[in-house]
Symmetry: C2
Subunit: 354 residues, 2 copies
């Protein structure tokens, strides 16, 4: 049974504004210095020798996605969404496409905005997950927490361990006290958003747990497979109607929290969710003063420490500062205390609706 | 006897980099929001109804200077220097020009990069200085210190008081302890760099105290007055030779510290030397959180206080910061702790000679 990577590239990446903007969200940016997040994500998966890639993205980023994927010489189907309706819709769309376009496959579902530093270990875990998925399980990768993060959801396993574990439950982002308890307990893992399952298994779960979403997609499944991915004509009109109608639900809430055949594989492969400017530090090497930049030749630090600079064009000089992030992109300059990283979303909302 | 403003606009303004750059130093920028520093300086002097303005500047900024001065409908003679040789050379050049172009006049010498908030009081003091200058005195304006500043030179008067005082001596930038002592003593004043004297008085002082500078300028004085100001032909060749040869000496060191007919007039007219990014705060009104910008519509402060933003084109957003200055100009972005303002000079040197 073939494995097919399904890359979810529909996010807006608001908290990485102003680099990440509506017209070019974070997954299309080269944050690490070694390619866009989307192409990094795909490149990690070429070892699986997939017959094809599937990328689910916004209609606005269809061309960007296609362009990023040309480098791989692997056929890529871009499934464009008329509007964002969260991960359940994106995954159902991909699963329905695969059910028409191929005989049963293993879907390897990954967000396009994560960083993974240990590729070898990542592939080892992924292959383990594929094995388990073949036995009709909904498999998720749980990241072993290294500190009490309050910004992620957690997966509670029924027991501690390194192998495939049963899922007790999915838990929401905790407060710091609870996060510390989770870290100590050892059977709580960060919800990575990486899922592995057979197309038939997840479709069956959708039919049981989200029948209305499945019903909404019905008209699309009547089209020939080669029509499925189109953003023109009848297919597009049908898709627009579907995405106008359906609920916006995450796969976690819609399926994983309710399923009874789920499994979690604990993993430790240098995973980072590049969700905020502070988190980007995880993928950039610091200089001797803790300063970071993917553009060192255009960045100068004087009497400064633990600062980070991202610049699209201008030279940036920092003097006498600590723990500050500077981002220059488009017509915007953002200067922010690193610990205010989560406030960037507020900034964007305020600038849009002053 | 007529009064002629002589505006010294030759500075490089390095500490206001990157706004102030070689091709357009600070005196040509609109820092206050109400015109360039040069035009602000000239505009304060129009009440003297001068027959002409003299601007001494670098050959590189001759056109910029001329352009700034067209607004005033008062004939302006721009005296261009082939290279900067400090204030003694600039003032001697202007004095020699005036001695050829007019009968004896009172020169009102002012740097182009100061801010003065109380124009009425400024003019009152200036007129007092002009009166004293007519009696063959070298008059300087001493600013009553409001706090123990260590970045300025001081003028020690022989006694306290509000009227014209005798100068005991000129003193260098003090350390903080000494600055506190000066503030308490009451007979120490900030050296404003504003001087008032008759052309004949200052030329006589030059002949006594800086005879070599006077000798170096000799060939220029042989030219017709209308040739004096030219930056072409023979006049320019002569000037180049002079400015190559002469020493670089300030008027303070070369004349004022040694003269025996000097006087100081204590003044309090909201004077600010716009010498560093921190000092620019003196001319911008703060919002309720102490944040400042001459471009409020392109500047956003969130959870920030006591920050200042200067932007030539981009929108700037600050989040969670305090006491930070952000400057966007040309191809450069500077982000600096306000108390590191004096380090900008170092930054520029380092960027030029990496």
């Amino acid at each position: 049974m073939k494995s097919i990577p399904v890359i979810i590239a529909g996010g807006a990446g608001t908290r990485l504004w102003p680099l990440s903007r509506d017209e070019k969200p974070k997954q299309f940016h080269n944050l690490s210095g070694s390619g866009s997040l989307l192409s990094e994500t795909a490149s990690r998966l070429t070892s699986l020798s997939p017959d094809m890639f599937i990328v689910v993205t916004s209609i606005r980023h269809e061309e960007l996605s296609r362009k990023e994927m040309t480098a791989f010489n692997i056929p890529t189907v871009v499934l464009s969404e008329p509007r964002p309706k969260n991960t359940a819709a994106a995954i159902l769309y991909a699963a329905l496409y695969l059910s028409r376009a191929a005989s049963d496959t293993v879907m390897v579902v990954l967000p396009a905005d994560h960083h993974i530093s240990d590729r070898k270990e990542f592939l080892r875990v992924l292959n383990m997950a594929i094995e388990v998925a073949r036995k009709d399980k909904l498999v998720t990768i749980g990241i072993k927490p290294s500190y009490p993060e309050t910004g992620y959801g957690y997966i509670q396993a029924t027991e501690n361990g390194d192998k495939v574990l049963k899922v007790e439950k999915f838990v929401e982002k905790p407060d710091i006290e609870r996060a510390r308890k989770y870290l100590k307990a050892g059977n709580y893992f960060w919800n990575s958003g990486i899922f592995v399952w057979k197309t038939s298994t997840i479709l069956s779960a959708f039919r049981n747990l989200m029948p209305r979403q499945v019903a909404a997609f019905e008209p699309l499944t009547k089209l020939a497979p080669e029509e499925f991915s189109k953003s023109t004509g009848e297919a597009w009109a049908i898709k627009k109607k579907i995405f106008d109608e359906i609920e916006s639900v995450s796969i976690d809430l819609g399926i994983m929290e309710k399923s009874d055949n789920r499994a979690v594989i604990p993993a430790d492969f240098g995973w980072a969710d590049l969700g905020s400017w502070k988190s980007i530090d995880d993928i950039l090497s610091p200089d001797e003063n803790g300063n970071r930049s993917p553009e060192p030749e255009r960045t100068h630090f004087l009497n400064s420490s633990d600062c980070s600079v991202f610049t699209e064009g201008k030279r940036v000089t920092l003097v006498g500062l600590s723990n500050v992030v500077v981002v220059e992109a488009g017509d915007e300059i953002l200067v922010i205390d690193k610990d205010s990283s989560q406030d960037v979303k507020k900034v964007v909302e305020r600038l849009k609706n002053p």
